[in-house]
């Protein structure tokens, strides 16, 4: 079935051809290759940890299959074996995967707890609302509303995000943050982020109607000084464009030039 070298070459080739696209700084950043929050970092580790525990089973099973295919052909003079049970073997291949799964489960559950529990020391709350087909962000502390605009966050600060929707179910997903959360009408869910400075892309992940596919998300996580600058600008009624916001990323001096 699968010829091994061809298979390996295929995967490597695929990763390489896609790699050149994803080296582009304008590409979507991901939790697996460029995690931007402590949670995403742990999800990345947990993914590879899970993969490392699963891989031996995957390789073993496919290898046994290949071996059997080549070894146990119907050649002249060969007689089929007659065995059809082996209780010890059966107990073994029930217990070993069971133990492996426990090893996967324990750290996973700790991480689940971390993702779902908002730490007490968050410094800002941003309310996220899904609309067909854009996002609205409210900063209750500042009285700022962003409608169909990039979300601006203070970098490296713990921020609580609450999710809800005014119409159908949406799902707020920035891959580099390591989680997604559904925005349900009539319900509020809270998650938290602590984002490295930078510009991040995402999009709605729950089918919400015709234009679901273009319900984009952009996030700019500004260093402290630049973020305060942005809050002041916003309160003055200015609305810096995404280009200006990204320019502010490179430091407060850029922001100052704009005063």
């Amino acid at each position: 079935m699968l010829r091994k070298p061809a298979w390996a070459a295929f995967v490597i080739g695929l990763l390489m051809t896609s790699g050149c696209r994803f080296a582009d700084p304008e590409s979507t950043t991901t939790w697996l290759f460029d995690p931007a929050t402590p949670i995403a970092e742990e999800v990345r580790q947990n993914f590879w940890y899970t993969a490392s525990l699963i891989a031996p089973f995957l390789i073993l099973a496919e290898a046994l299959l290949l071996y059997a295919i080549f070894r146990f052909r119907n050649r002249a003079g060969r007689k089929p074996a007659a065995f059809h049970e082996n209780v010890k073997l059966e107990v073994f291949w029930t217990l070993v995967p069971a133990i492996t799964l426990v090893m996967i489960a324990v750290p996973s559950f700790r991480l689940v707890h971390k993702i779902t529990h908002v730490p007490a020391d968050t410094e800002l709350e941003v309310q996220v609302f899904g609309h067909q087909f854009f996002w609205r962000y409210e900063y209750p502390e500042y009285g700022i509303t962003l409608s169909d605009e990039p979300l601006v966050l203070p970098a490296n600060k713990k921020v609580a995000l609450t999710f809800s929707s005014v119409d159908v179910i949406h799902s707020w997903w920035v891959p580099a943050f390591g989680f997604k959360q559904d925005a349900n009408p009539g319900r509020v869910a809270t998650r938290w982020v602590q984002v490295k400075p930078g510009y991040y892309k995402g999009q709605c992940a729950e089918l919400c109607g015709a234009l679901h596919g273009v319900m984009w998300i952009e996030v700019v996580a500004l260093p402290e000084e630049a973020f305060r600058e942005w809050v002041r600008a916003r309160k003055r009624g200015e609305a810096p464009s995404i280009e200006e916001l990204r320019a502010m990323l490179s430091g407060p001096q850029v922001a100052k030039q704009e005063d």
Binding site: M1, L15, S27, T28, V43, N46, E85, E90, A105, F109
Partner: protein, 546 residues
Amino acid sequence: MAQYIEQPLTLYSRWPKPLAVLVDWLTTTDHKKIGIMYLLYSLLMAIVGGAMAGMIRSQLAVPDNTLLRPELYNEILTLHGTIMIFFVAMPALAGFGNYLVPILIGARDMAFPRLNAFSFWLLVPSGLLMLASLFVEGGAAAAGWTSYTPLASKQYMATPGVDMWIFSLHLAGLSSILGAVNFIVTTLNMRAPGMRLMEMPLFVWAWFVTATLILVAIPVLSGALTMLLTDRLLGTNFFKISEGGDPLLWQHLFWFFGHPEVYIVILPSFGIISHVLAAFAHKRIFGYPGMVIAIAAIGIVGYLVWAHHMFTTGLSTLSLILFSAFSMVIAIPTGVKVWSWLATIWGGTIRFTTPMKFALGFIALFILGGMGGIFLANAAVDFSLHDTYFVVGHFHYVFAGGTVVALLAATYFWFPKMTGRFLSEKLGTWVFWLFFSGVLLSFLVMHFLGILGMPRRVYTYRPEFTSLNQLVTAGYVLQLLAGLLLLFDIFRTLLKPKQDLPPDPWGINEVQKTLDWATSSPPPPYNFERTPTPDQWRYEPKEQAA
């Protein structure tokens, strides 16, 4: 024995032959004819569903494509999923089940032959309603095969297409429920004298457990559909948030059905694979009792995992952990199946017939699908993978690589039994390699797309996903070619005269010892000239010792 088959038409014997044949098929209660009609129905729907997949992959061949309007894209997406599950996979498995279960247990027919015919015929209005919904004003249902509320509510999707979708699934569901009753009663009551439960072939066991799943899961779907329907048409408030309804109620009900549903389409496939592997490895099935227990365990634990489809909805941490844990537990009996299949072919003398190629390909692809399932069952990782192309890749590995590959194995395996003709081994090899490589390619690449950040159910994507999407589309083309080749071969073979095949045309029954290969090809009306006796299916202890 051939004359039996040529003359079941006594009632209409004075009518012109084509008319008599037609009326005979339309009014038949013979489980074999009904089985074949299920299979033809499924084939027809596979052409429709496959064409829809082609539309989806054409739209996604380049970003910002304007081939399909966004609304139409969602309609096609919804119908593709619904049709493939309810009108291709389930009828095809019901077809093989109908044809084979009575034969494998040495019965003359299903327990309730007329109910059986009724189950099949319900699918005709059901399918027509589903397809017709594409042409009503406002278009077909467009909220995905899962039709989450409130998107699928009247407020956001006023089209009667959604109501037609609901009615259609009501009919299909009723068909499945009645079919399940029939399978359960048949298996429990109609076995040839002396056949114990633990002697039943695995395909019968698999269908029996599947029937119990259908009997529990489908009524829950029907109930949820009814609630949605009354919300839409009669002004009830089950899912209306502003009136105190709950949008997540739908998801809980849907997935309480939806997860067992995935086992409904995979368990009979497991059964098929066990038969084919043992037959062409020339060995008995390894660990038969373990296999039966695994099937039953999957069936039972399968009820406890539904919320793994809802990890990102905002469940409590405890629910997340429990549903994650149960989902991982499912992987254990699934693993038992895989190891036992490997042990079944181990040390055998493998003949690489077309059905065997598909069965071996099934194992290769199913392992990949199951491994993906473990990442998804890991709730911490699923927060990132949920609703991305990773999930689409996972379930196509188990649906296309699993169920469909198993159905292809079954088609090649039992075609001579059903029609008295072999499909071409030469073309079959092509069909296999095209389909296998197409599935491998398309759905592997989808896993990467999901990890890299492409959500599912989108009609366009960011430019960095272009090359991978084109690889997926290329994989589709391979699968399409396989499908066309298979269709060609089926029609070509059916037009040829019947071969004079022995009861056991593959020459396997000395090891297989199942009753399907103990009767003529095709079997006579009522399957057996004499009620089968235990020596026809029971392994002799001498043989075991050898």
